[in-house]
């Protein structure tokens, strides 16, 4: 096994400390928010944002860290949600058990998809994930006996009051956020970056690209599946439309506007894109047009997103103050 000494983490730097500090502040603020925010509607919007943050962070593992364009994220969310819902219909288990089963199901589906998907190239990967998403949707819509088809599965137990739901998703978001950050700064995360940037060099360093890609994809699916189980109880109804591949576009806008592969930019973008749309633009088609345009401009001109802009700004300021010193 080739030595990966050179990939070992550098000693904790100022940036890491700053980042942990930011995290503490943000989580603290988020924790006390319900005390100041009045109204179930706003709490609902915030909870939706937390769901989107978690889903975007899990999607970031596939698109941002290891560099593969998957259409299947909404499908994994749906698989998790349906697993929890169907489980509830037959046995009475705690939400944690449901979440674990959902993770297992989503991961298995991801493994099944990964085998043909990672065969050839980025494009075939995207097409296979799209194909499977459509097949899963067709399956769910037509197996009425199992999933209720277009009539959905309803009557799931709720997670609790609005504030309780908020805290559940806040805890999930913090855990997932911490987890993905930990991965990013670990050896595994650096392997992902190596594969994404220069696969030949990564292979020369002894990194098995296929295995890492599989792991990133399955991990991302597992997180989405877990989220789906809780999401099912948040919505109390699970429908085939919840796994529409069109959600991929919104996720992509969030990722690219926030800065794909980053962290805080994506968190911020997820909040913005959940809170703003309903309030500003009523026509869903115009919303879609704006998303399309935003994504196009981001990809053409600003691929590092907000996080990249902030980084560039900071480094410009830092170099200016350094040159003055």
């Amino acid at each position: 096994m080739t030595s990966t000494r050179s990939l070992r983490a550098p000693s904790r730097s100022r940036t890491t400390e700053l980042s942990i500090g930011t995290a503490v502040v943000v989580v603290a603020v988020a924790s006390v928010l319900p005390l100041f925010v009045h109204g179930i509607f706003i709490l609902g919007v915030l909870t939706d944002s937390l769901v989107y943050v978690t889903l975007s962070l899990s999607y970031n593992v596939v698109v941002g860290y290891v560099g593969a364009f998957s259409f299947a994220q909404p499908a994994f969310l749906g698989v998790g949600a349906y697993t929890a819902a169907i489980l509830c219909e037959h046995v009475s288990v705690s939400i944690i058990v449901q979440a674990l089963v959902a993770v297992a199901c989503a991961s298995l589906v991801a493994l099944a998809i990964a085998i043909p998907a990672f065969r050839l190239s980025h494009m075939t990967f995207a097409m296979v994930t799209l194909g499977f998403t459509l097949i899963i949707q067709l399956f769910v819509t037509n197996q009425v006996g199992l999933t209720g088809g277009p009539m959905c599965i309803s009557g799931l137990s709720s997670l609790g009051l609005a504030a309780q739901q908020y805290y559940v998703f806040l805890i999930i978001a913090v855990l997932v956020g911490g987890f993905t950050r930990a991965i990013a700064s670990s050896r595994v995360g650096r392997a992902y970056v190596a594969i994404r940037e220069d696969e030949a060099m990564a292979a020369a360093a002894g990194i098995n690209a296929t295995r890492y890609r599989y792991s990133a994809f399955i991990l991302s699916a597992g997180i989405a599946g877990m989220l789906g189980a809780f999401y099912a109880h948040y919505l109390t109804v699970v429908c085939p439309s919840d796994m529409n591949e069109a959600y991929t576009t919104t996720l992509l806008v969030v990722l690219f506007l926030g800065g794909v592969g980053g962290f805080w930019g994506i968190v911020a973008a997820a909040f913005i894109f959940t809170a703003i749309p309903e309030s500003l633009v009523s026509d869903p088609n115009i919303q879609l047009m704006i998303y399309g345009l935003a994504l196009l401009i981001c990809v053409m001109v600003m691929p590092t997103g907000m996080e990249g802009l902030v980084k560039r700004l900071r480094s410009t300021l830092r170099s200016r103050s350094a040159s003055r010193a």
Partner: protein
């Protein structure tokens, strides 16, 4: 007996449809060097342009077909210069996500202009039914589809094989750097291929859409089918695209007739996934196109 013939004709119509669209996709893959998720939306756009010329302006069929093709070519030129040009030869996500964004944009703009309700662009030829003895019927528009597609494919074959421009396109598809070194204007050739591919889409739309309905979201299904065809046939191969479109077209038509129509679409994906499991390069694909960084 008549059922089998109607399935065969349906299959041939789908074959022609997919062949034209997939050949355009192969041109874009090979010569422009990008993945085009907006390809089906080019067809949709061509369909609406044809609608404008044929139904709204009342031009005769052939004139509307030519005008729609020219208009689509012009729009493709604009899209290339403004957008696609900046997606070529960049990071892995640029063409994939850029063209996806373009697709979303085209669909929402089409919906804003023409509304989401499906429209008909039926020509009188759709209703001229020709009886083939006891075997069944075929309508005139379907004959146009077959003849039109055959002519297009022959022209494409002639242009690619014999003309200077065709040779340039083949050369660029093989090795961009070598072409640039040899003085071929790669971006001009790529632009030509892109516009030609869009023209093929418009032609496909004008020929086949009278038999169906147009709607802004119709592009997605065609994009997916076109990709299935190209993956099946092999990424850089025109021949593969034509053969694969026959396979996919027939499989789709037969499965629609004999099986639950809900799972019809799934058959195409199933074939694609099987292909990727057992022979990823496709039927006529180039085995040297290995590795994640290829198309």
């Amino acid at each position: 007996m008549s059922l089998l013939l109607s399935e065969f004709t349906n299959g041939l119509v789908l074959t022609s449809y997919y062949a034209l669209v997939a050949c355009g996709l192969v041109l874009i893959f090979g010569v422009v060097g990008i993945v085009n998720f907006a390809h089906g939306d080019f067809v949709m756009l061509g369909g609406y342009l044809f609608y404008e010329f044929y139904i709204v302006l009342g031009e005769p069929y052939l004139a509307a077909l030519v005008l729609a093709t020219l208009a689509e070519g012009a729009l493709a030129l604009l899209m290339y210069v403004l957008v696609v040009r900046r997606l070529v030869s960049r990071e892995w996500y640029a063409p994939l996500i850029g063209t996806l964004a373009l697709s979303v944009l085209l669909e929402s703009v089409a919906q804003a202009i023409w509304s989401a309700a499906p429209r008909s662009v039926a020509t009188p030829a759709v209703f001229h039914v020709i009886r083939l003895g006891t075997a069944g019927t075929v309508n005139e528009q379907e004959i146009y589809v077959f003849v039109g597609t055959a002519l297009c494919l022959l022209t494409l074959w002639a242009v690619l094989g014999r003309s200077k421009w065709g040779k340039a396109m083949r050369a660029v598809a093989q090795n961009r750097e070598a072409c640039a070194v040899n003085g071929i204007n790669v971006s001009a050739v790529a632009l030509g291929a892109f516009v030609a591919a869009a023209a093929l889409c418009a032609l496909a739309a004008a020929l086949v859409l009278p038999l169906q309905l147009i709607s802004p979201t119709a592009g997605d299904a065609i994009t997916t089918q076109a990709f299935v065809v190209v993956i099946l046939g092999g990424m850089g191969s025109i021949r593969g695209a034509v053969v694969a479109s026959f396979i996919v077209g027939m499989v789709t038509a037969l499965s629609a007739a004999y099986m639950s129509s809900a799972y019809t679409d799934a058959f195409g994906y199933g074939v694609m996934i099987l292909m990727l499991l057992f022979r990823p390069v496709g039927l006529f694909g180039d085995a040297s196109l290995r590795g994640w960084t290829g198309l």
